[in-house]
Symmetry: D2
Subunit: 339 residues, 4 copies
């Protein structure tokens, strides 16, 4: 931690800050410049909690030198993690494709999706049983009934399954039926939920919040891992910007950024990011080329009949074509696309 | 709802869209322009759910004509709401000041705050017992112990009390001790929690999400009101932008926008929005002048000792001065500042 | 300037950085922490130009300690500037109201506006002769003819006049007719134009760029002042965010931020910021309460006939009412509203 | 154009709007819904300029149905354009790599760059002679001397050359020496400059503004093409968002969006977008996979000696490796990487 003093800070003010730090058992390095004095702090800065140095007399600002997340930080865990999910893995040697409908609508809809995406090469089935919707008057999901269909679809096809949980109640149901949990963008900082999935024993995919920085996202993952669950996968799904040509702005630079800062795998969701079916294929290829460990793709037997997010869903045929198109890109990146 | 066809949409495509709409019991108005045809839809558009017209052949885009929120919409409830809280009210004739510490740290800290803010003219005591923190290693709040201090402070001073609830567990505790609930920015779209505070019977202050549009914010309020709770107050607390000179960007234009679109009162929180103590006073005055129904201000007996957000907290003396400065602005707006 | 080394930076790497800095005639302060080493740099950092220390082996990042703008920086010029314009001034004791049409459309339109705003208490007449328009097919302004009307309106009413210049060509014409120049948001970083207005001898109002940080804005002002022109006024006119309820998001916290960082006056333009006439009055009052040195308001004899930005223009009567409403707010801030 | 009336608009108000439109020679289609009435307008809407219907009594809002850009619009020119530059072309069958230093610093620096990038397979040499810099105290470029080196480098190596022009003065010099002009992000809406490059006769690369929407960007291109110059290439270079992990946020979804809306080629600049050398390679591959027609890459003989943007520049060796890595991606997209 570095404390930058104001240009006109008095010697007394500087000494007062230095003594405050030393009183907490930390060391101080003073650096007097032509314009300003800088106070370097050495030691465990958590001891300074509550000292609020930034409003001491003469202090201009504080600069944090080290990240607040530790267990998900690549600095302290340089090898890339490999996350096991049922009989597959997510990590640097695989390109994991999670596919399925935005919302589970019926037994037949989900089962037909499961068979189609399995056949095309996906290894994980997605499907929403609890839908967080902007308006209370929109379709909210089949809940436990949907989870039962997921369990059945996973059993019949051998696919692993993933479902978003939006509350502790949803979580307590989901753990009985699915292989992997998803925390959606709106709940990225629902810390109670993060802690509870951290205790669930299941692998978790953590979507980036709508306006979350990479730093906040990794701190949210730290909430999960600090409860004892290291099986975390991150998912970039677009951030909110001023641009309206796409629903969100897919931040593909987050892929190399995450790979530089963390050992956790990263998945990209071009369906939700763009909201437009025609952009899913070019951005899926781009995500793979950028180094993503996988993709989450919406597929629907009849997109024009979907209760949720039809405009961005692929038909079975389009998804099959996408998987075919992706194979040479996965190969260039040294990744296996199915197991 | 209006459907805009592509310039090259065939007559068959236009007829197919028209028939789809009519088959759901709605009426169609066709408007053929030089370049494009427009299809107006008349009737209850919820009947079109799942028809996904936007991906029908020949359709360019859909324009929504009416808002999805109804009960909080000023169009259907033109008089401004007045929200009772304990022995005070929030509404167009009052300027409600909620003040207190960011986090409740101890019995003495909270009680001394309560007395100081009461004396200066605040009518509601704020204080966090459950703190949503970016890092799992930061102070997380005193929880039920803190709520007990709130109850005591309210009893002794006569102030109404408000506390943020971050989960169903926190909510079930808070309803026993405080007069008003707060939903924080991170939980603005925690829909389960919104529904539950909608059933709590207590008035609710709903903070705007970090990157929420006004439309999403009013839809979140609709979740609460649609559960039977009309006692909702909105709170603007800064949005996330590219600018880093302040912690968030206080969007004061949201005050007249909300007053034009909804009958719910709106409070402004300049402390969290800016994160800088020196900006609290000018922006408090500005909020009142813009038409806000109240302010939420952080106060601490010793900001430099605060466990959370000290840099933006006012001392008792500064808060007293602020209240004095605000009085003529409240008077210009025709608002009583205390009851 | 502070250089933060990577956790695993070798002693050789640290010494190499230190020697590089010393070789340029600067001093080094090393601060070895438990995790990382920090290198403080003392002296004129412009000597390090081109040394690109941030990509030296072992370097994690660079933190700038001092601002790059100097002449507009309050640290080196603590008294607020007072900017003379014709027979009026802009500064801490006045509330300057600039008013007039978005675009000059005709002799009669401008002259009638000038008389109306003069009568209501404005001291500066605004009016666009060169209009920067998103589409090449929109009305682009009357150019020199418009400037001649400005000169006449100023002569007849005694008002000072301000006009936006969008190019060197426009500038060379405008200096012959008006009392103050305006640089619009789109040209905030048109550095050639900034330098030239810096040499023009006329006072300049510099609008904030659509997505400019406060730091970039003050650096743009530094371009003007470093050419010898200290008569600069800043103008906040809304920034681009994800919110669409208003055209831009008026950043009123920029008012206290600018007043803390610079000695230059700051004006607020609520008309362009919101794009909605009904929001101009509440946000004008808010700007004054936040500490603004003035306002820029669009007025039109017949807003529904305006060639540009009619929806945000006030009628003469509305403007007269606004000026009346503003007076007590100006008085509370200790500012004279006309001279 | 569609006019949406307010729910309480009277029949008189609706008739008044309808008559206003008809009085300009346009046709009206009324569509009365349960809540609101919609007025469709058929005909040349430029005739409505200045009628400001949006502030007529009873009008809620206006929805534009057609884009304001015409000549760059794919709807009216469905085949992708191929832009000739010296002896190469930019278009759907090629992957054009523009490479070179951020700023031209010396004869030797530029010539060695030119030879290195030519050898590695680039076809266009980039290099800045006029540098738009945030601070007036930063290096501003070699100007005409730099252009002379560009001309020489192009002659010796056979490479085409591109240089940013920041003013009419720079433009008048550049046309004498280089093969292609660049408009930088800060000048995307410098309309005078756009018009002048539109008359220059040289091909132009138009970078996206820092906070420009796709729509504004295409309108800026319309300024160039409407002056008679169809040889325009767009360049995505990152947009401004709240995220600070990269300098800007590279919006790769703009690639398929532009390809859907315009016939102009699109180039991606990952160097400026991220500001970090390590992210250039993954995002270059991603850009190609997303469908980009080319890349602009910064290369420097000694990045740690660069006067501008060293941290994002590749060494000759790194650039050679990048070009080798890109070849299979270009092949998958059916593009030739050099001619």
């Amino acid at each position: 931690m570095i404390i930058i003093m104001k240009p006109n800070a008095s010697d007394e003010a500087i000494q007062r800050v230095a003594k405050l730090i030393q009183s907490k058992g930390l060391q101080v390095h003073l650096s007097k410049g032509d314009e300003v004095t800088i106070v370097g702090v050495v030691g465990d800065k958590s001891k300074l909690r509550g000292s609020n140095i930034e409003i001491s007399d003469g202090v201009d600002k504080i600069v944090q030198v080290t990240e607040s997340y530790k267990l998900v930080n690549k600095k302290f865990h340089p090898e890339d993690s490999v996350i096991p999910v049922k009989n597959t893995v997510i990590g640097p040697d695989t390109l994991t494709v999670m596919a399925g409908p935005c919302a589970i609508e019926s037994h037949d809809q989900l089962l037909s999706c499961a068979e189609a995406v399995k056949k095309a090469g996906a290894t994980i089935l997605r499907g929403g049983a609890f839908k967080p919707r902007t308006s209370p008057y929109s379709f909210q999901g089949l809940e436990e009934e949907g989870l039962q269909y997921m369990e059945e679809a996973g059993r019949i096809t051998g696919l692993a399954t993933i479902c978003e949980v939006t509350s502790l109640r949803a979580l307590s149901m989901a753990v009985k039926y699915v292989d992997m949990l998803q925390i959606g963008a709106r709940n990225m900082q629902n810390f109670e939920l993060l802690k509870e999935v951290g205790r669930s024993g299941l692998p978790v995919m953590l979507k980036r919040g709508l306006a979350a920085t990479v730093d906040e996202w990794l701190n949210a993952a730290e909430y999960i891992i600090s409860e004892g669950n290291p099986n975390i996968v991150l998912c970039e799904r677009g951030i909110r910007t001023y641009e309206t040509a796409t629903r969100n702005t897919l931040d593909l630079s987050a892929v190399p950024v995450i790979r530089a800062k963390s050992h956790l795998p990263i998945i990209v969701d071009p369906s939700h990011a763009t909201g437009v079916r025609a952009y899913v294929e070019p951005l899926s290829k781009a995500a793979v080329a950028a180094g993503a460990d996988g993709l989450m793709i919406e597929v629907h037997p009849c997109p024009s009949c979907a209760l949720s997010d039809g405009p961005q869903s692929l038909t079975f045929e389009q998804f099959h074509q996408l998987m075919t198109d992706l194979k040479p890109y996965a190969a260039l990146e040294g990744r296996r696309i199915d197991l």
